[in-house]
Symmetry: C2
Subunit: 115 residues, 2 copies
DNA sequence: TTGACACGTAGGGAAACGCCTACCTATCGT
DNA sequence: ACGATAGGTAGGCGTTTCCCTACGTGTCAA
């Protein structure tokens, strides 16, 4: 039923846990598909390290690579981010309700009796 | 302007990177505020380990604790998740547009000329 | 007050992470 | 064919993560 395996979900969240990788996603979002060196120019880090980050992002499905001559063009793949948004949805009422002042009530309702 | 410091954003994403911690959030969301032992019952893990996970979640602002006698009641705090949703927003068009078949066009447009 | 209970903290160890310096392959230009 | 360029891979190394087993602290009940 659910298109996201637990392992895939884990890879996505783990990929997003690193600030460099989030910045790579932003660069691809704002700058469009780019080769590795163009991305690496934005970081105080050697290129091989960035390559490893790109591998993590690729394994999470967050970027794809397309070979063009001797360069690899990396492109943002946002589908896994849509699944992160889906993951967030059940929590949404918790920050909306709290805004309306119902939060405390709704929080305490399911907490009836437990052994 | 931005209420989220980079360090705070990092703590939130890092906290979400672990499956146990995500499950804790789900338990608090579906079961309401709970003491530590009630949460620990759901995991194949010693209670002190779960305490450490709760500390990570608390440092990220994702849960709060309230003392009640000798137990600590943990409660979901969803505000940081709202900021994750805000973080996702600029990516949203990338999965929406792709659905409509415009993705490839929009991807390539910003990628004009770079040295 | 004495024990039991709920929980956090300390400290340790295996594994993963994130960076580095070589080094290798593949492609382009001359 | 040759050097230069783009980028992945290997291996090392310090740090962090995540689990564990003690142990310490505060609270309740008898």
């Amino acid at each position: 039923m659910n298109g996201t395996s637990a392992a895939a979900e884990d890879r996505v969240f783990a990929a997003l846990a690193n600030a460099t990788r989030r910045e790579v996603l932003r660069l691809l979002r704002d700058g469009g598909p780019q080769p590795v060196q163009a991305l690496a120019d934005h970081f105080a880090m050697r290129r091989p390290s960035l390559s490893e980050h790109l591998k993590v992002l690729k394994d999470a499905g967050l970027v794809s690579e397309q070979r063009s001559g001797r360069q690899r063009i990396y492109r943002l793949e946002a589908a896994p981010l849509a699944e992160v948004q889906d993951w967030l949805h059940p929590y949404e009422r918790f920050w909306r309700d709290r805004m309306k002042g119902l939060g405390a009530l709704l929080d305490r309702m399911p907490d009836d009796d437990r052994p």
